[in-house]
Amino acid sequence: MATVLLPRSLLTLFPGVERRHELAGDTVDQILTALDGAAPGMRDRLVEEGPRLRRHINVFVDGRPADLATPVGATATVHVIPAVSGG
């Protein structure tokens, strides 16, 4: 199971959802789909048409920049971080 860490500004949109999640998935795309199961609607906040990560959302897998296709190892740490470019 990968460990997924979410930003505070995202959590405020989903009251009661925890910052840290243990989720199964082989790619960032699958992880975010699993995340939507825990917090319905959260994938829409992070992924836009394409599909691709929203322009000002950064995802890191084990500290490296990632996109939806990036593989996620069984013990990986996935950070979701709002980009400074968004404002």
């Binding site: 995202l10 829409d44 048409e49 394409g50 599909p51 929203r54 959302i57």
Partner: protein
């Protein structure tokens, strides 16, 4: 006992001002919607729920909904998409610009890039009104200074099949078959920035509204003048030589009971700064369907007032006399409790005001 609310949309969230029937004293709540940029707020007639449309630079577009007078909110953008893929016509939707409810309870949302969506469940899920996007003129649509935005939605008050929308800088469209097909409604509207004969589209509509009790009468504030139509938008008559100090402006609101009364806020031309002419603040009212206009400025600053008001930032309530409110790009919110004869500053320190809605709640 009537309670009056002013709902305000800004780039730093929504705000609510609570007042009573006198409309002299207001208390401010906010920022709401987690500080998201909010372009439009309405109240759903049946439920009384507040709906707010906007978009976050990080988290995308959404329609927010509060069923407890703004204390708690939910949000959704489920279905608010042109679909996955690459290329023209599937650009990501960045924000919700406008909201409206039809006579059958359908909720409409206009978005950027321009398109129309509808919801049958109060904004929880959305479906694309493809007939508008499929209009033959779509490849020619170009943005105004505010982007390619669907900013005005005017449903017919009794016929759910008829809806008018305004898109910048494209013009007015109407459907008479529930959104399946759309026709342009721009005849007689100037597009001074396009050489040659009057185009079918390309007109820079800024706002339009329906006359009270007369669904075929529409008033329009355009980049190039103020207009009236008495045939549902088929043809428009230019009113900009009837006494207003500038043909340019953004908002326009109509009286809730008198079909010949409406208000506009003329601004200097874009090349001149888009502020109230001579830096002297005024709201202009017509009581005769646009044949003449009267300046209303009592209480407003008359010197050094470089104020600008955006397209959604003026609203009226339904009381008698009608209350009018407008918000400026510099965060001042002004209110008149006497139909625009005199004005009072409600608050002067809000963020840039994008939207104002006035609501009367009976308790």
């Amino acid at each position: 006992m009537s309670q009056v609310q002013l709902l305000v949309g800004t780039p730093k969230g929504a705000f609510i001002l609570d007042g009573d029937r006198d409309r002299r004293d207001w208390s401010l709540r906010g920022p709401l919607c987690e500080g998201w940029p909010i372009h439009d707020l309405i109240v759903e007639p049946e439920s009384g729920a507040i709906l707010a449309g906007g978009g976050s630079p990080w988290y995308g577009p959404a329609v927010w909904r509060s069923e407890d007078d703004g204390r708690t909110w939910t949000h959704s953008s489920e279905g608010l998409s042109y679909g996955d893929g690459e290329g023209d016509g599937v650009a990501p939707i960045t924000t919700v610009w406008s909201l409206a409810t039809g006579p059958d309870g359908t909720l409409y949302a206009g978005v950027e890039p321009a398109g129309l969506f509808r919801s049958a469940d109060g904004g929880r899920t959305w479906s694309h009104v493809e007939g508008l996007t499929n209009h033959p003129s779509r490849p020619t649509w170009g943005p105004g200074a505010g982007g390619l935005i669907l900013h005005t939605i005017v449903p017919h008050p009794t016929d759910a099949q008829r809806v008018w929308v305004g898109i910048s800088a494209v013009g007015v469209f109407e459907t008479r078959d529930g959104g399946a097909t759309w026709e342009t409604r721009n005849r007689g509207v100037r597009a001074d920035f396009i050489p040659g004969p009057e185009p079918e589209t390309g007109q820079c509509v800024h706002k339009f509204a329906m006359a009270a009790g007369q669904p075929e009468t529409l008033y329009q504030q355009n980049h190039c003048g103020q207009y009236r139509s008495t045939d549902g938008g088929l043809t428009w008559t230019d009113l900009s030589r009837n006494g207003v100090p500038s043909q340019f402006g953004f908002p326009l609101v109509t009286h809730p009971r008198d079909p010949e009364t409406f208000w506009v806020i003329p601004l200097t031309q874009p090349e001149e700064g888009r502020f109230m002419p001579e830096a002297s603040a005024a709201v202009w009212r017509s009581r005769d369907a646009g044949q003449t206009f009267t300046r209303g400025d009592a209480g407003l600053p008359q010197e050094d007032a470089y104020l600008s008001v955006l397209r959604e930032a003026m609203a009226r309530d339904t009381l008698d006399p009608v209350g009018i409110a407008f918000g400026t790009k510099t965060g001042q919110l002004w209110h008149s409790a006497d139909e625009g004869d005199s004005w009072r500053l409600v608050t002067g320190n809000l963020p840039e005001i994008w939207a104002v809605e006035a609501v009367v709640r009976e308790s």
